[in-house]
Point group: D2
């Protein structure tokens, strides 16, 4: 046994989620090579020092370059805002570190391609934190599709609905500033459902989309005056897929009453599935292989340790898991990949493909017509 | 083709429900011998005359004895309050008429036995209007159980919950007067779930129960003073069955938010079903014959004309039916039984058995211990 | 009291649904001027004669022109395929008859304009049978929006999903022939959700869409060879509205497991609603006027006779109604409008507006770009 | 800051659940006095040593007496089978340690009284791990009831349904041996719903119950021959409460398809609530304070950091938590109570009360009549 020594850049929402993932991988999954929490990094020394203590990191740094250069680190984990991913990832790869980055991978297709080239050239492991692939219900959906239980896929309907901006008086936040966030609902939420769609049914062919900013200026964070919202509040698009299916996508932060409603429905010639993150322990499945008079959407409680992926590490049947568990599953799979020197997905190529879909939608919004989705790596 | 000539006693809630059943049987089911709406009967001449016109009855009477004596009637349908069922049914049988009566069949086991004897001696058709047996989802539940898809039955949980008395200020009504209604929630609501239980899983062995009248006096209907409530607001009981299963029953008019929540869950060694009248077009079914990783309660929309009983008379898949349709199904089955001179169920023996269960519960409430359920016909 | 004398053209699915509506309006709603079922019309004499008998029409005809010309008819009801609506409606209007037509009103915007002109010139009542407006849950949705309970509307998501074509081996049918049906899922299903959208949130501004025919030829009805499918299997589109809202629409006959899943979700700044036809007695409502810690989608069982529109004609709370009841509500409202000589909606102008939206989507499919929705009447 | 130094007896299912609770309290709740994981104890040295390493305990012991005697321990946590609770708890109290014990607290009312006396005499903190009180949805239910939003409580319906014994071929396990487990479904599952009932609506007055062992012998664990099942498979009972409400309780391990279906419904004169553990992040609430036409069960997603208890330590709205989180909430509350030297609930008196209800049911099963529930502490 050796340890996988981790340097984590970022210590807020994602820093917390990733830290627990490393600790709980060790606790529940007992990997061959456990994670070692070497160093956490943030620009504010007081805050990052406190986080290091509470979260249990051995040390802290205030400059990510120092972390990347350290010799005692195997894996750089990037949990900072989107506009910083590129520089950190490329530097980490050049330093021979494995790289895990939060989504969206980059601010542009061009940046994503550079990042992919860097990790490929360096021969390191690379992964994008599309953590929802590791929800057991999604793993089950993937299995059903792989087994052919849906037959030919006709339709996908994927909507990621939140409501935290529905109130026009909510104040400005960094996620509403295009120079930092890169994008609004599109990059934040559509990124997830685009990745899941690629994972479940394959590649996009062409798209047409629209976006809207319903509330164009909001009270400044400091309470003085207004600030312009420079990202999309909602982005919707239609799509055709290489396999002939058609799709309907929507991301919004204005769907009053929908808190984290990541809804995916796939209809095929033999069956259908429905997933909703707000009931993330359940998967609905309809099968035409059932006798006609017995057909119906069955609601599978995806909590059976014996048969549902990841669940044997947790509790007895019917004992739910929560949001952060998918990060733990992701970390556990990454640990195994590093130990076994096997590829792990979604990797930077997946991250690039996702970016290419998002960018085609952006182009379509400008051109007001359909746009093909590019699929080259360079 | 001949006609089945009907005399209907009662013209209010049940009179309306039964009238539409005869008309819609003719319209949707096209029976070999259609119903003919000969005469409707009520004590208030003005009201019954108006009902005869609106509902489309050929004539009206104000004394049920006159209806029973008419030569042009084949079937007497009793839709009046419980305390009148016995006399009408016995007179009708003696006059050689077929008899359909609303539930509960009688005010006592003794009365029910007399009624059963009368129809048996007369050799006429006899039926009790436990209309819920004819909901397509219940018919499907029966089919699943008959096919053995539940295996050995362990549990039944049956609750009939309404809330129209939850407000202590709601005024008195005839259903709260024991001399007219015979019983409260027990005879009105438990009667339905006891009948469905017998239909689905078999005979009761012993019971222990309790009842409560939460609000013991209510404003009089005429607004002057108070009147004592002399029936139960709720009756609950536990049961053992001849086949070894155990059951849990509850009827109430105080379950705030439950409007007509007739809920039945049956668990067996191989599968389970769940029905709720408030979603009467659906049946939930769980099967251990499904592969382990795919098991879940499936929600069958029981609206497929090709395979779900009664539905080929109505609309395409997914087009719901409502409350009154079960009365139409009942009338359609009764018409066929009369034409073919075959028995039809639930008959007066079923009505008596139901009464015997209800009475055993009443006895248990007095004795504060378990009581055996009598099952003899005399 | 006088009678509203009806001539019904068409005696199949819609003929049956409309016939019951007239009879049940008389039975349950007791209108000032009841309907009189004078004549039903169909080309096959044997079939229409039988239908006249079973359904209770006084007479039958085999040529709709004869019906239109009869002096004893007040209302012409058109329940025939879409390609016949125009000629019948215009002739009826010229003969001074009120006109009710099934949807979609016409095969083209041009035809719809001619029809609107004809009824306007004649000064007769005109209505399009978008029956879903009369579902009590939809009436309640309309009320909530009118009362301002949703605030500013941001989003509508409307999907009408069926699955009867999901099996590639299902045979050809007239609904798949463009020369008769005019359109596939678009005209059949999107027509309904476009009308409901206009009813609930207002007029469309611009649209972009796509359509697909997944299975391009199917076994002929007579079992000999194949026939080409000439209509769309699915049509999806995005929309902007005059009030700034954005929308996402989809109709398909390939959504395995969805039987009649007409789903509508509307999100506003203060609240949201969700409706699904497969649970047509329910409306979900989320309100930000509730205290924060108590907010949640409430599931309103829209069956309260005292407070929910149309329900006082039916049964006690919690007793469901079904598909055909909305036709009865529509007929009841039409009867009142005729008696009171007041306008009734949706009228031919509404039918035209719907057609204009559908046609803009069709244009967009050809042009592959956004298309404005025309709103003129001539 | 000082540390709360913990000695944990037991390292299996509950050992794991409690260990994560201490670690996650430190990580997410940042208590004034964090927990320190001093020593874990089990009889099998190899296993407990391994557990100590994986879980992160400083040391291990193989005899619980050694742990109780150590000077560096503040809190003894008992996660062993029921028949060991009494001796450990009393010894711990005598040694001046705070005591947390798993449920059911004891094998008998007599034992529970001794335990209560021991902790009271010693003046230490005492708590029973009825962890479900700390589910945020249950905390919200408690708040609603305390605020009077349900009015007078009429009904409680509480069912704890599992299905892991539904298959008659499942082998014997220690939980089926009365000498170790003390009881079957009754002590394991009814204990939870009895505690929640007391927490939410108050004290039991009298009960009548029944139990059944459906499968009386099962294959031995070692595969050789059969072993007799000496505990109940299911126990059901009816109850009256001091406040006049009536209740209906059921626990079973034979409800096929129900995995951890802890269902609680409470109906009052002004409102109702429904909770189901299989959707533990949700609470349904019906209020008659809503306007009549808007009343419906609202489904509250209890994940709002701003307003729902415990949730500000976790993730944004709509990001679910799972089973183990309630243990963390419990540990966090216990830490605060120890620091502040304030009482914490449910304590050993609550554990005794629960035991008294369970024992009254057991007595009723023997006597076949109603039994009063004793409520004295000695």
């Amino acid at each position: 046994m050796r340890y996988i020594k981790v340097g984590l850049i970022g210590y807020k929402f994602m820093g917390k989620a990733h830290t627990q993932a490393y600790k709980n991988t060790n606790f529940y999954f007992e990997p061959q090579d456990p994670f070692q929490l070497k160093v956490i990094c943030g620009r504010n020394e007081k805050s990052v020092k406190s986080a290091a203590h509470t979260y249990g990191w051995e040390s802290y740094e205030t400059d990510w370059r120092s972390v990347v250069e350290r010799n005692d680190i195997d894996l750089i984990d990037i949990g900072t805002p989107s506009n910083t991913h590129k520089d950190i990832a490329i530097a980490a790869a050049k330093a021979g570190k494995h790289v895990l980055t939060e989504k969206p991978m980059a601010l542009s297709v061009r940046d994503a391609k550079e990042m992919l080239k860097a990790v490929t050239d360096a021969g390191v492991q690379h992964m994008v934190s599309f953590n929802y692939r590791r929800i057991p219900a999604i793993a089950l959906a993937k299995r059903l599709i792989t087994e052919g239980r849906l037959g030919d896929v006709y339709h996908i309907r994927a909507h990621y609905l939140q409501d935290w901006l529905a109130n026009p008086q909510s104040p400005f936040a960094w996620r509403l500033d295009k120079t930092i966030a890169g994008s609004g609902a599109h990059g934040d939420l559509n990124a997830h459902i685009v990745d899941l769609t690629r994972y479940l049914i394959g590649e996009f062919d062409e798209v047409v989309g629209m976006s809207e900013t319903f509330v164009k200026e909001r009270p400044a964070e400091n309470g003085e005056g207004k600030r312009n919202v420079t990202v999309d509040d909602t982005t919707l698009f239609l799509a055709r897929f290489d396999n002939g299916a058609v799709g309907n996508f929507e991301a919004t932060r204005y769907a009053t009453g929908r808190k984290n409603h990541e809804y995916i429905e796939i209809n095929g010639s033999m069956g259908s599935i429905v997933f909703n993150f707000e009931r993330m322990n359940e998967l609905q499945f309809f099968s035409k292989e059932d006798e006609h008079y017995l057909q119906g959407y069955r609601n599978i409680l995806v909590t059976e340790p014996e048969v549902h992926e990841y669940m044997n590490a947790w509790w007895p049947p019917g004992h739910l898991i929560g949001y952060e568990h998918a990060f733990t599953h992701q970390a556990s799979d990454l640990a195994r990949a590093i130990t076994q020197q096997q590829p792990v997905y979604p990797n930077f190529e997946d991250g690039l493909r996702c970016q290419q879909v998002l960018e085609a939608v952006d182009n379509s919004i400008l051109s007001r017509t359909w746009e093909k989705v590019e699929k080259s790596n360079d």
